[in-house]
Amino acid sequence: MKTIAALLCALPPASPAPDPVHLAVDPKNLPITTGQCNARNLSVRLSNTSGQPVYADAHLSAPPALHLQRTLVSTWLSPGYTRAVPVRVSAATGTPAGTRLVRVSSGGQRVDVPVTVTAPATSAPLTSRAARVTASSFRAVTPICGAADGDPVSLWADSTNRRWPDWHQLDWDVGITASRVDVVTLPAAQGGLRDWDVQVWADGAWQTVAAVRGNTAARVNSTFTPRVTKAVRILTLAGNGLGDQSRIVEVAVS
């Protein structure tokens, strides 16, 4: 048998040296309140200070009380370029108050960010006190918490165009009393919600406490007889065109 050496494609690492890369993390301190949708972002910035392109890694770690949506950032950096990557930091409902460190490292560099965890105030809106927020589906740019973070810019949208119904749900660890649900959606011209039911969980089933039909407004308040419940959901039935999606900017329960 003739011996012909196979050509191996695996190569030595491409520019592995981390030294040309500068690591920075903002902010220097991060206060968060417990709850899935009360997360805040750390910005991990990797800067290539050399004249050559490099691949760089940043590793993140935290104690179990904190949840990091990602623990690694790897990216190509052209000379002089800075890549800023947001990393979501959260603490589950019930996490004891205190300060924990998120450690970010790249090559020989290390940055520790103190994260101060507190529970939401008892006077805080019920949405921000929800222990779990879920939805039938979502998109990366319109995540579930987009409708439960108090941010008037972010929103939740489902990922199943033209398929109905969809739902968006808030759960609490303890019973709350609800008598009003405000749904902020988009104006009809921007594809806001048209039809939906407001439901509360009671007696082992979803009970519809309000129904909205033919809506074109960006904000709708639904009031109903006060109910003690541990879950509220918006069951969406139709939208106003534009891909025929469910779009909710915020759900407020009171």
Partner: protein, 515 residues
């Protein structure tokens, strides 16, 4: 030198002892099974093929659960499935810098032959893959069997089509893009509703950095049906847009972003693509650039031009989308292929000498009128770049045997290609097979009103269908046969497959005729 031919027939303990010394900077083999992503082969030549694997003991974790160390990986190529006749072997490096991927450009094989291959890392042995070399350069094959597949959004359903593909007897599979999708994947894999998956919320992020792309490829490649199709025959792959971002055009992202950010985004995406596909070393990207277009030859029967219609294109005309009366699409200098690739293709077609020229590419070349407002055309397709299309079809008019193979739009089409689509009375100069998706867009339906409307406005569209599946083809010296293979559903596993329609086109007289 260890006699590796007998290596894998030894007992485990003896085998471990017989491993070649570990390089100074390399780690010993991983403890858990690292072959969770299967094996693959690609880009067959008469004398060789690329074999691929990637070590990933915990595929849903960053870095797939491996430390930042390199691992030696032994490989073997044999003439028989039991590896009694090993003809080539060696040791490659699964480098951390390359996501622990392994690409071996195996040479010294015989043309037109089946081979079997496998890898070993520490005490773990990979699944066995089967591959097939291309016929010799001077060979005159009587036939070539291939299939086209594309668009396999993980969240849209199960890869049943790949399970059926794996049972086909193919010389090569052309995968025409959208191997991964960049959007969020929830814990149960979207419409798969697979509670056993339990994906971490890292998968909810848009892919834009190298670590996220590596994780995304790992997720897709854990699918056993996809692994079976990769292990059954060599693939020749190209990408479309979702390997980077929906409808990007060269350096222009779909959404506003600083150019430097998108340059890094593209570099990360291209790097992960090379790492995760059976591609040769010269295809490896340099930052945000990666030359993917190439020619594969199958004796004198067919030359396959694997094209890239994303990296070099002008931005979509008139703001993209389906437009009527867009004069910008006709502006001089607008190109889908880029001038270098276009000239390479036209020169290759002209001087090919093969009986057939296959153009394995992404977006629909046939004119496709959407109805409604008169003359609406999709600016992302060749309809948005008519100058390049005209150049190719004018060449095809002079060179018999041009077949365009297409993916992208999640529908099946069989199309006759004319130099002037407004002249249905003229003879076709080539044919196009647009293959539907593996999963993207979900279950689908046989009859889609939009497609019926398109057929009314575009008489050269001979067939349309909106189900999932692939197109199986057989080339002989004088005819092309295409079988459109479709599934009844993908949101549940286990769909049977049927041949929904079959067509034949003659090399000397192009035009798709139902069988």
């Amino acid at each position: 030198m260890v006699n590796r031919r007998g290596l894998l027939t030894m007992g485990g303990a003896a085998l471990t002892a017989a491993l070649t010394p570990v390089p100074a900077k390399a780690a010993p083999g991983p403890r858990a099974d690292p072959f969770t992503l299967g094996v693959a082969s690609g880009d067959p030549l008469p004398e060789g093929v690329v074999i691929w694997t990637r070590l990933a003991p915990r595929p849903f974790e960053p870095a797939a659960g491996l430390p930042s160390a390199d691992f030696p990986v032994k490989w073997q190529v044999a003439e028989d499935e039991r590896f009694g006749r090993v003809v080539r072997d060696g040791t490659a490096t699964a480098a951390a810098a390359y996501g622990h991927s392994v690409h071996v450009d195996v040479r010294g094989l015989r043309p037109g032959r089946d081979y079997f291959y496998r890898f070993r890392a520490g005490r773990h042995v990979s699944p066995v893959g089967r591959t097939r070399t291309a016929p010799g350069k001077a060979a005159q094959p009587s036939k070539l069997r291939f299939a086209i597949a594309s668009c396999q959004s993980f969240t849209d359903g199960w890869y049943t089509a790949h399970r059926h593909l794996a049972a086909e007897d193919l010389d090569v599979l052309f995968f025409l893009g959208d191997y991964i999708y960049e959007g969020a994947v929830d814990a149960v894999g979207g419409d798969r509703h697979d509670a056993s998956l339990r994906l971490p919320d890292t998968f909810e992020l848009l892919t834009d950095t190298l670590d996220l792309y590596r994780m995304r490829y790992a997720l897709y490649r854990t699918d056993p049906d996809l692994q079976a199709a990769h292990a059954a025959f060599p693939w020749a792959l190209t990408w479309d847009d979702h390997e980077v971002q929906d409808n990007y055009a060269a350096g222009v992202p779909r959404f506003d972003a600083p150019p430097a950010d998108f340059e890094a985004h593209r570099a990360n995406a291209y790097r992960a693509y090379w790492e995760n596909q059976p591609l040769r070393r010269p295809r490896q990207p340099a930052g945000p650039d990666m030359a993917l277009h190439r020619r594969l030859r199958f004796g004198d029967l067919a030359d396959a031009y694997v094209l890239d219609t994303r990296q070099y294109r002008a931005d979509q005309a008139c703001g993209d989308g389906v437009r009527a009366g867009c004069a910008q699409r006709d502006e001089p200098g607008r190109t889908l292929l880029g001038p270098v690739q276009r000239e390479w293709l036209l020169h290759g077609m002209k001087h090919s000498g093969a009986r057939w020229n296959l153009l394995a590419q992404q977006v629909m070349m046939a004119e496709c009128r959407y109805g409604g407002e008169a003359g609406r055309l999709d600016m992302d397709k060749w309809d948005g770049y008519p100058a390049d299309r005209t150049a190719i079809l004018e060449s095809a008019a002079r060179i018999p045997g041009t077949v365009v193979l297409t993916g992208d739009i999640h529908f099946n089409y069989a199309a006759d290609l004319r130099a002037d689509f407004s002249r249905p009375d003229t003879a076709p100069v080539a044919v196009e097979l647009v293959g539907t998706s593996i999963t993207s867009s979900g279950d689908g339906a046989d009859v889609i009103p939009k497609l019926e409307e398109q057929r009314r406005h575009s008489p050269h569209l001979r067939f349309t269908n909106g189900q999932r599946g692939y197109v199986r083809c057989e080339l002989t010296r004088d005819t092309l046969r295409a079988d459109f293979r479709v599934l009844s559903h993908v949101t549940r596993p286990g769909s049977p497959i049927i041949t929904r329609a079959s067509f034949i086109s003659e090399r000397a007289r192009p035009g798709l005729v139902p069988v």
